[in-house]
Amino acid sequence: MMHRRVVVGLLSILALLLVAGATVRAHELRPGFLELRETAPGVYRLLWKSPAGGESPIHVVPILPRDCRLITGGQQQLTPGAPVVRGTLECPGSIQGRTIEIDGLASTTVDVLVRVHHAGGRLESHVLKPIDPQVTLGAATTGWQRALGYLRLGIEHILLGVDHLLFVLGLLLIVGGRWMLFKTISSFTVAHSITLAIATLGYASAPLLPLNAAIALSILFLGPEIVRKRQGGTSLTIAQPWLVAFAFGLLHGFGFASGLTTMGLPQAEIPMALLLFNVGVEIGQVGFVGLILALERSFRTLEIRWPRFAEALPAYVVGSLGAYWTIQRTVVLLGALR
């Protein structure tokens, strides 16, 4: 238990460094979506959903092939979660073999999903990343390729969601015993899967800014609980951490859903996307928990004795980061309401 705290402490310090560096923002990954649907030879209905939400605006713009032109101006509308542009695009001949680029993507950490529905039913789909923000159209993509894309999206979402990871770390600090650990992580998984599905299928939604503030609050909530546990105290969270994990897991699931819902998935593809995105999230989460446990065991093997302050650090780092994010996101929320 002591070693686990220390492991988590070190990782928490890393998280603190990341936050101090201001380069890792929780929920950075809110993918954009560009869809072109061929309605007549060389004519495409365009839909562009810009990545949006969270703590900072993301400025990326699609650069369409040079000889293509918008024959109806881009009609911009604001929808919850993302500004949307619709229009009609005309490309002499065909769009096949032409290049689409997302300008500004290289300086972000978001992805953009590009999907082209060709006449005759052929579909191609590409995930553009900061490392490679352009694609030459032409090759049809298989279901497998699209499935892998969603899986990767899920893994990336959890890895970039430092707040989610910190919440899991907080749970690890409170939980004692393997069975309780299994129960707690499982209940967190079940809970966030429920709300991820509900939100992605469109049955319910949570406004992004209050949601992010609430997620930060869940991390802040764990800070004092970890301290209480260290001091030998007890509470509902310490006695039944799985209950708290389930309750807050429902919140975090809406957060995960933001990675999918802002993309405006085609109706037919939602079940597959939902399943694989969630599997990706679980792979990332289980990998993270596994790494923490492996490190804990290694520290025990290497007989590392930590100074007392190092044992207290994790709780305060989790609490401090939770407080920092709560204040930051509340300010953003209040700014948006004004």
């Binding site: 070190l10 890393l14 950490t109 970039l160 490190l295 093997t301 290497l302 007989e303």
Partner: protein
């Protein structure tokens, strides 16, 4: 070399080859990884996907593990801190010209010592760890500066070094069947062989 064991003699030959190899001048090349997930993940991925950094880390972990818990513990912190400190120095003082085969020295020495399975004092293992950390950390830092990337990549690199060393050295430290130690030594010999190959390529490329 009178009275020396065959292993020691081989090590001496390897050492001589290393000295010859590292005299070959050339620029340190930066093979930095871009994940699109930000500088910290770039740093993590760089270590995991760059054999010229990952192999010495693993070899150092194997050597430390063979030399017991105390050596492993000291290696864990000294290698990580040396890597981070040298990385920061390399980043701020940037631009370095290092011999082309410089990384092969750590491959050859650490790999050779692992293969030899000689009992070393924890201080010696720690000294080696510091040397490896300083060498590779400096190169990482300089490469990050030269490519205009964020210094936060060093945090990812150092964190990965720490995690790799703690996991691998703990795995080796735990007493197991006799074949386990042999397997570790074989791994060390492979690392040394790779080092020799790298020196060969460096010399041939003159």
């Amino acid at each position: 070399m009178k009275g020396s064991t065959p292993v020691a003699r081989r090590l001496a030959v390897c050492g001589l080859a290393t000295v010859c190899g590292v005299l070959v001048p050339g620029r340190a090349e930066a093979h930095l990884v871009t994940t699109g997930l930000g500088p910290v993940y770039d740093g993590i991925s760089h270590v995991l996907m760059s054999p010229d950094d990952l192999v010495p880390i693993l070899a150092m972990s194997l050597l430390a593990g063979l030399n017991g818990v105390r050596a492993s513990r000291m290696t864990l912190f000294s290698l990580t801190l040396a890597w981070l400190a040298a990385g920061a120095a390399g980043f701020f003082f940037g631009h370095t010209v290092l011999p082309l085969a410089v990384t092969s020295a750590s491959f050859l020495i650490v790999g050779g010592l692992t293969a030899a399975d000689r009992r070393l004092a924890p201080a010696v293992v720690t000294g080696l760890a510091v040397a490896v950390g300083l060498l590779h950390g400096w190169m990482n830092g300089a490469a990050i500066a030269e490519t205009g990337r964020s210094a936060l990549g060093l945090v990812g690199i150092a964190a990965t070094v720490f995690v790799c060393v703690s996991l691998v050295s703990a795995l080796v430290t735990v007493p197991r069947a006799a074949w386990w130690r042999i397997a570790v030594r074989v791994a060390g010999s492979w690392v040394a062989a790779i080092g020799l190959l790298m020196i060969g390529w460096a010399v041939r490329g003159r």
